[in-house]
Amino acid sequence: MTVPGLLPVHAGLRPPTVNFSLERARRQSLRVVAVNAVGLYSLVRLERGAVEPGVPGQFFMLAAPGSVLPRPMSLCLAPPGELAFLIDPIGPGTRALCALEPGDAIHVLGPLGNGFDLGVEQPLLVGGGIGIAPLPYLSEQLGQPRAVLGFRSAAHAEAAALVPNAQVVIEPTLVTALVPHEPVDVLACGPEPMLEAVRRLAPRAQLAWEAPMACGYGACYACVVDIGGHLKRLCVEGPVLRAP
């Protein structure tokens, strides 16, 4: 759970307080355009309204019908007029989000947190499972660079169709087998063991981390991970962190 040694991607650049203005703090009610099956995942597509898509790797808090707490989701795609989120229905909240019907409305807050640093020369996207969620939008912003993706089954791997120029492996082969030895700028999102392995292979990798989170804007102190030797809030310092 704790990952010593990780640092904020934007260390030194960000002011000590987050400029979370009252305007940005206002959650918006967005209508559901459609929910499309993508392999075993669901792509939940919302009308964008006045909400900005933000930087790839930033996240939004989506209010799940019937839940007390919203769910943090990174943006998967930003088609014109829409915001789309790739969701794995693994619990009551994510199942309720995947069961939304066209025309339903949900509250959305964001974009939140610090996304990927896009100033990279030789990007390689690395994704595992539902961790590929932010990669389609990231790929688009970086001009469709090479990507390597790992999934636990062929059915899950159908989601690889969302990421251009992707090589895909299925367990027991691990995605790290496709990470080259020459220096590249790795931008990764996936389960913790994958991020740990990527970080050993690729110094300076940008890793999109995940943690149980209640608020997404620094209020609850739930989402702490070990950052630079101390428990710090992932929503404020990350969720994209850099391996030293």
Partner: protein, 291 residues
């Protein structure tokens, strides 16, 4: 002023969301302890059907870094600053209160006598209040746990020891299991239960304490709408604090203030404070029987 709205301690960070803090009538800090605290290991939250458990464990900078790094920023917010104080002995509470006493930016001290996620002080709440009372001339509110058979007795005890107000209520200890393993979802097993499920418990506590003592009460527990806030006023709260609702709606203060005004007006009250204590009025028995 209408019914003042505050945040429940630990449910909003004015440093990361200053504009949200400014939309309140007063800001209450996360609990400050004598020394810096790293807090409990993650995971720290577990959602349940009608609420959430938290086990943050009083993560915080400690009093010295709070005074040097945080308080000047909070003072610039332009609203009254309440400092929540915690510790592991009456001496801890007294030492933090003594350091706060010299800072005029601090409007009120709220003693966190009831954190469900750390070891308790050996002294009683009344002894801690008395120690804090001797260490500061600031207004002291005592924040009590709802997990008490007779919270009115606790309210009378802290009032006698010098508390000038009550914050009711803190979270109540709860536990949730992982359905796949039947093991606790939080590392310390238990956490503080908050959210909609806490509201009836908070109403009962405020109701009992408002009859027992003549102290102002900040009511809190499961407030998500103006109607929830009006309920707390009706059982005797003078002001209302918002907690778990901040995690889903940072715009809650503005929304709930508007809903509270409209809800009170719809029931025929010129202003929300006119509904104060109406739930405790002795009903006309004849009217009650024929209704």
């Amino acid at each position: 002023m209408s019914i003042p709205l505050l945040n429940a301690s630990g449910c909003l960070d004015a440093l990361t969301a200053p504009d949200v803090a400014r939309s309140l009538d007063a800001f209450v800090t996360k609990t400050i302890t004598p020394l810096p605290r790293e807090g409990n290991p993650p995971p720290r939250i577990a959602e349940t059907a009608h609420g959430m458990l938290n086990s943050i464990g009083l993560q915080g900078p400690g009093i010295e870094a709070f005074l040097s790094d945080h308080l000047p920023v909070l003072a610039a917010l332009g609203i009254p600053i309440w400092v929540s104080v915690g510790g592991f002995s009456a001496g801890d509470f007294a030492s933090v209160c003594e350091r706060l006493d010299e800072h005029e930016e601090v409007a009120t001290i709220e003693l966190n006598l009831s954190c469900p996620n750390v070891e308790e002080a050996p002294e009683t709440s009344a002894q801690i209040v008395a120690a804090a009372r001797a260490a500061t001339t600031k207004t002291i509110y005592a924040k009590l746990s709802p997990a008490s058979w007779d919270i009115a007795e606790g309210a009378r005890a802290v009032a006698a020891a010098g508390a000038e107000g009550l914050s009711l209520v803190n979270t109540i200890r709860g536990l949730a299991l992982d359905p796949r393993t039947l093991r606790p979802r939080l590392p310390r097993a238990v956490g503080g239960y908050s959210g909609p499920a806490l509201k009836p418990i908070a109403l009962a506590c405020v109701h009992a304490c408002s009859q027992a003592v003549d102290l102002p009460i900040v009511g809190m527990g499961g407030v998500a709408t103006g109607a929830d806030a009006l309920d707390l006023v009706a059982v005797g709260a003078d002001s209302v604090a918002l907690g778990t609702i901040f995690f889903s709606d940072p715009g809650a203060p503005v929304r709930i203030r508007a809903e509270l005004e409209a809800g009170a007006a719809a029931l025929g009250f010129a202003q929300p404070e006119d509904a104060k204590g109406v739930a405790s009025e002795i009903p006309d028995l004849q009217e009650f029987l024929t209704a």
